[in-house]
């Protein structure tokens, strides 16, 4: 299974934490390309909090099937103007990631659909 999100800001926060382990990129694909797993009690909670969607594929299969990718630095530069410059460039571990997700929620920073479409357009232009 592969955990994904519908929100580029959430994906970027995860990617920032992943910088602790090396180069970090964000992969994307049109919704519907992979089968989605039915949410459990846990998934329903995080679906609401993080707009998470769990796909019925291995991460490697998702990587091979992704249609677009963007470097985390590019994602940060795009998102900062939309988040009033609130966007960490480094996050200390999973506990820091959880704090960042909570803070993004508290600040109501989840992106509206038109911003998500704009982000997708940027990804397409970077990938072409």
């Amino acid at each position: 299974m592969t955990y994904t999100t519908l929100d580029p800001l959430i994906a970027t926060l995860f990617a920032v934490e992943c910088r602790n382990h090396g180069q970090s990129i964000i992969l994307a694909t049109p919704r519907g390309r992979f089968a989605e797993l039915d949410p459990s009690l846990t998934d329903a909670y995080f679906r609401r909090l993080e707009r998470s969607v769990t796909l019925d594929v291995l991460p490697l299969e998702f990587t091979e099937g992704a249609t677009h990718e963007v470097d985390v630095e590019q994602a940060i530069n795009f998102l900062k103007p939309l988040t009033s410059d609130w966007l960490p460039e480094r996050i200390h571990g999973i506990s820091g990631l959880a704090s960042a997700l909570d803070e993004a929620l508290a600040r109501r920073l989840h992106l509206p659909d038109d911003s998500i479409r704009h982000f997708a357009a940027i990804m397409r232009s970077r990938s072409s």
């Binding site: 459990s40 995080f46 960490p88 200390h92 571990g93 999973i94 506990s95 820091g96």
Partner: protein, 141 residues
């Protein structure tokens, strides 16, 4: 980096009653595994909260524990995606079914973890002890 980080479970919600097969007092904790995997049978001895980190630069620094209490709860089941698993990977979300002492201390935004410094009692080790506090080399008995 993760080798220096503690084994933790970050609680998002606590569910007291579900249609599970666990007998006796227990709690179902919905949340996220920290920087190390959690396995069925693991025991947590501390519950605490992290001081809120709000500014972006704060998020780059280690969290500070607050309101730390001693507990002793064992992970008896791990559930995710309507299935049971023997292990919850680092960073993954899921539910832990836990039993033991201190269940009432488990609440949303609390963190399950361990003492910051492990006990240094080596009396159970029959072969190695330090000769004195200033000696850098252990003595072999």
């Amino acid at each position: 980096m993760s080798n220096n980080l503690p084994t933790e479970f970050l609680i998002s919600e606590v569910v007291e009653n579900t249609n599970g097969s666990t007998s006796g007092p227990y709690r179902v904790l919905i949340g996220r595994c920290g920087d190390h995997p959690i396995t069925v049978g693991d025991t947590f001895h501390r519950v605490y909260r992290h001081r809120p980190q709000v500014r972006p630069e704060e998020l780059a620094t280690p969290p500070v524990r607050e309101s730390e209490s001693g507990i002793c709860v064992e992970v008896v089941r791990i559930i995710a995606l309507n299935r049971e698993f023997p292990i919850l990977g680092q960073g993954s979300t899921g539910s832990l079914v836990v039993q033991g002492e201190g269940l009432d201390l488990l609440s949303p935004h609390a963190v399950l973890g361990q003492p910051l410094e492990a006990p240094t009692d080596r009396s159970a080790d029959p072969t190695i002890s330090t000769t004195n506090a200033s000696s850098p080399q252990p003595a072999i008995r």
